[in-house]
Amino acid sequence: MMTLTINGRKVELEAPVTILEAAKRNGIDIPTLCHHPALELWGGCRMCLVEVEKMPRLQTACTVRVADGMAVRTETPRVVAARKAILEFLLINHPLECPTCDKAGICALQDLTVRYGAVAGRFEEGKRVFPEVVDDPVIVRNMKRCIMCTRCVRMCDGVQGASAIGVIEKGARSHIEPFSGGRYNCEYCGNCLAVCPVGAIMSKLHRYTYRPWQMEKTVKTICSFCGVGCTLRLEVRDESIKRVSAEFGDGVNNGLLCGRGRFGYEYVDSPERLKTPMIRRDGRLERATWDEALDYAAGRLLEIKKENGGGAIGGIAGGRATNEEIYLFQKLLRAGFGSNNIDSIARLGLLPAQKILEDIFGQGAVANLISGIPRSEAVLVVASDPTRTNPVMGLEVRAAARAGRKVIAIGHIDGLRRHRTRRLEAKTGPGQETMIMAGLLSELLKIKPLSGENPEFEEAIKAWGKTLPGPDEVEKATGVSALLISGTAADLKDVSTSSIIAGRELASSMDIRTNMMMLAALGYILNSRIFLISEHPNEQGLIEMGCSPEMLPGERPVDVRTFREKCEQAWGAGINPEAGLTLMEMIEQAGASIKALYVMGEDPAFGLPSRGRVKEALGRLDFLIVQDIFMTGTAAMADVVFPALAWSEKDGTYTNLEKRIQRLKKAVIKEGIEDWRILAEIGKRAGLPSRYRGVADIFREIAQVSPIHAGLGFESIEEGGVLWPYKGKPLSVSSSPSSAAGRFPGSGKAVSISPPPDRNVLKLVLDKPLLHSGTLSTHSDALMDLTGGPEARLCPETGGKLGIADGDAVKVSTGEGQISLRARLESGLPEDALFISNDFREAGAFELFGYQLEPESKTPVLTVQNLKVERL
C-alpha cells in the first residue's frame, strides 16, 4: 500500500504503477502523444511532463513509477510552459492543413493545441516538407504531418510482429517509411494507422469523403470475416460505412484488427448486390415480387414434400448467418418440412473435430479464452496457420513468442516463421503433421510425469500411446530427425499450462479420429486450452443452433426422445427421429433421394471440393432456393433467389470460436428483408405460425428450446458478450472422469495412421490467404487492389525445377479439372507443396481437389490425383 498526492489529492495504490496510470485512475487527465495503452512505454514526446516534489527536473508521467509519499502536480505554470514549448516545437514542422486533413476533429495534436493555446510560428525557416505517398492501395502516408511519436513502429514491431516499418534518416529529416519503399510489403493490418495520433498515416478508403463530426452514427458490432469475432466500430454517413475502427480495451481483439476486418467492408456497398427476388421462368431468372417468390418457394417445397416426403428436402446454411437465422432455418426444415437434412460448411472440419473432442472431454472442451494464449507457458500450433485464418488470434501466439513462451509449430505455418522456438515447422512437409504429432506425443508420454488428476484417463492414453510410432519410426517415415522431435518434447517437459491451436487441416483427413485423440491426449498431458480455428464468423453458431443433421439446438442429439419432445412442444410440429444426410451426402444424393435444396448464405457450387461433380449434382435437383447477397454460382443455377441483407444491415448474434455470444448490430438501413423474416414468411406458408417482432423474440425462443442457452436474454448480450457456459446446462454425458477414459475411443487398439506422403512428389495444398476468405472479400475493392488475383505459391527451387518464374501464368490440372493462374515464387515454402486458395471466382482450388468421405464423421477429405503444373 502506498500513498501519494496528485494535485493535492490523496491517492492510495496497491502496487506501483506509472504516474500517468495513477492519475488516470483518479480522474486526472495528463496529456500524452506517444503513450498508448497497447504499446510498450517510450517517453519520447514529453507531453506528459509533470512536476514531482523534490525532483529538480520535470518528469515524464508515462514512464516514472510512483513511490510512497510522492507529491505530483500536473498543471503548474512550469508544466504548462513546458508543454506549450513542446507543442510549439511540434508545430514548427507540422503543416497547418487541418481544414483538409481527415484527422481533424479526432487529432491529438489539434486537441492539445486548442487546450494549451495556439501560437504563431516564430521561425523564419520554412517547414520540413515530404511529398505525400499515395503509391499504396490502402494506406496513405503524409510524413510532413508526422510528429515522430513512433507509435506505428512500436505497434508494427511489438504487437503485430510484422516489423515492416521503421524510422528512416535522422534529426529533422527523420520519418516513418516501410522497408519496402513506397508500397507496403506487410500484413496490412492497418493497426499503424489506428494508433497514429495525427493524420500522418491514414486509410485510403473513403479518403476525403467525410469529416469525423459528419458521421451520422457509430455502431459497435462484430466483424464478419472469421471466427475470432472482433468488435468493430462502424462509422456511417449517408447509409454507407465510411470507416471501420476498433477501440482499445474493447472486445476479444482489444482494439486490434486485421486487414480483412479493417479494409474489407466495401463489399456491402458493391453494385453487384442482389436487390429483388428472382424466379426462374422459361429457364431464365426473372425479377419477381416478394409475395410471388415466397409463395412460389413455399408452394414448391410443400409439393415436393407431399410427393416424396420431407426427406427429399435438404438445407445448407452458411457461416455468416446469425444465430437467429440459423435457428429459424433448421426449425423451418425440421418442423416445417419434416426433414433432418441440414448441414453447413462446419462439416468441412470444425464440427467433426469439435464433436470428437467434446465426446472425450464433454461439451465446451474447446471453449477457451483467446486472451489466455500469451499467458500459457507453451503454445503448440498444429497444421493450420492462425495468423492467416484467424489473424487476431495469431497475434496472441506472437505475443506469447515475444514473452519468451515456447511456441512450437508443426506443419508449414507462414505467419509464425519468425516467432517459433523449434524448427519443427521448417522440416515438416505437407501431410506429415499427424506423424510428427504422434512422435511428439509418444515421446512426451515417456518423459513427462502426468498430473494424476484423472488416473483412468491417464491409463487409457498411456496404453494407447504405446502403440504410437516413436521418434525413430517417425524419422524413418518422414525424414524429420528423431533428435529434433525428442528435443521438442524435452522443451515441453516442464510446461504446466499450454495452448494448442489446430484447424481444418487436421480434421479434413482420413486420420481425423487419431488426430483428435492425439490432440486430446496432448491437451491433457500439457494441461492445455485447445482452440479450433474457425474460418467463418458464426461457424460455432451453426453447431450450437442445431444446423447439423444429427443435432438439435443446444447440440442435443436428435435421436434422443426427451430432447426431441422439448423442441416439438415449442414448435408445435413433429420432428423426424432419424438423423439426416450430411453436407456431401446431400450433394451426392441430389436428384436421387434429395429433390429440393434450400441454400442460405452459402455457395456450394464454389465452396465445396470436386466442383465439377457438385455443379452437376445441383443441376439434377428439381428445385433449388438460394438466399444470398450476391449472384453466386449456386444462385445462378437456382429456381428462386432471395436477396439477403449483409452483416452490417441486420441485428442478431454471432458465436465466436471461444463460444462467446456477441451482438451484431444494424448499422446501415438498406432496402430489403432480413433473412429471418424470409424464413419466417416461408414458415408461415408451410404451417409454422410465428409471431416474431424482431430478433429478440427469436432469441427468447432459442433460450426456451436450447438447454445450453436457457436463461439467456437478448438484453444480456447487448453490452459485451456472454461467455461459455452461458447460463444453461451443458450436455453432461461425458464430463465425469471415468467416462472421459471410456470415451477415449480406440484405447488399447493399435493406432492407424495413414503413411505420410512422399516428399519427392509435388502436392497441392489448400492455401488460406491473409486478406481473403471466400468469394465475399473479392467484392471489396481495397482487398482486391492488395492481392491482385489468384496465385499459385511455390518455392523458387521447385519453380526452377518446373521452369516457372515469378509472375508466370501457369496451368494447374488434376483429375478433377484445371485452372490457369499466376505463379508466385516465395522462399521459405516447403519444396513439395503448391499452394492455391479457393477465394477467387476465376480460379479456385476446389476446381482441382476431389474428395473422399471419412466413413465415420462424413468429413470430406480433400484428395488430389495426377497433379500437373505447366507454364503457359
Binding site: 483538409t100 501560437v119 516564430r122 467525410y210
Partner: protein, 199 residues
C-alpha cells in the same frame, strides 16, 4: 374629470393636432418606395443570397472542402459531400448544396470559412414558386458570384467585412518573435505546405 380634459373634449384639440400632422405630411416628399419598380440599394455587407467565390486565378471555386461552414451552420442547411480529386489527389467538392428555405442568413459560414470561399451577396430577389429553385448547387452559387460580386466589389467585401481567419491569425502579444525587421508579427506560412487556396 378635470377642467383640462373637459376643454380637450369640447374643442376636439387632439383631432386638430392630428389633422395638422396630416396637413404637414401632405406637402413633404413621400418615403414609400414603389417596389418592385423602384429598388433599394443594399448597404455594403448586406447578408443576401449566397455565392461561391470564383478564384480569379484558376477560374474555379476557392473552396477547399473542409466542411467547416456546414459544421457551424445553426440551421444545418449546408450539405457538403467531398471526394479525392483523381488527378491532383487533393480534397475537392463532390456536391455542395445550400437549402435557402432553412437558412437564417447569420453568415456564420462566411465567418468560419478559412479561405474566404463563400460570401453572402447583396441579392435579395430570389423568391420562387418551386422549392428546387431555392436549393443551391455549386454551379448556381458560382454563377451568383459572377452576377453580383465579381470585380472590386468582391474584394471590398472581404477586405471590409469578412477577412478570412487565416489572414487574421496573429501571435500572442508577449511572444518573442525572431523575424526580420518590418514584419508585423503575423505568421508567414509556407505556401507549399498549405492546401490550395489557403494564403
Amino acid at each position: 374629470m378635470n377642467t383640462k380634459k373637459i376643454v380637450k373634449t369640447i374643442f376636439m384639440t387632439e383631432i386638430l393636432q392630428g389633422m395638422a400632422l396630416t396637413l404637414k405630411s401632405l406637402f413633404s416628399p413621400a418615403v414609400t418606395r414603389q417596389y418592385p419598380k423602384e429598388k433599394r440599394q443594399p448597404f455594403p455587407g448586406f447578408r443576401g443570397q449566397h455565392a461561391f467565390v470564383r478564384d480569379a486565378k484558376t477560374g474555379k471555386e476557392k473552396c477547399i472542402a473542409c466542411g467547416l461552414c456546414g459544421a457551424v451552420c445553426p440551421s444545418k442547411c449546408i450539405y457538403i459531400y467531398t471526394k479525392e480529386d483523381e488527378e491532383t489527389r487533393k480534397k475537392t467538392i463532390d456536391r455542395y448544396e445550400i437549402e435557402l428555405l432553412r437558412c437564417v442568413y447569420c453568415a456564420f459560414c462566411v465567418e468560419a470559412c478559412p479561405v474566404g470561399a463563400i460570401a453572402l451577396t447583396e441579392n435579395y430577389e430570389y423568391s420562387d414558386y418551386s422549392r428546387e429553385a431555392l436549393y443551391m448547387t455549386k454551379e448556381k452559387l458560382l454563377d451568383n458570384w459572377d452576377r453580383f460580386m465579381a470585380g472590386p466589389k468582391g474584394d471590398e467585401y472581404f477586405e471590409k467585412f469578412w477577412t478570412p481567419k487565416q489572414q487574421s491569425f496573429r501571435a500572442h502579444d508577449d511572444q518573442a518573435v525572431f523575424r526580420p525587421k518590418g514584419s508585423n508579427g503575423a505568421a508567414r506560412p509556407e505556401a507549399d505546405t498549405r492546401p490550395e487556396g489557403v494564403k
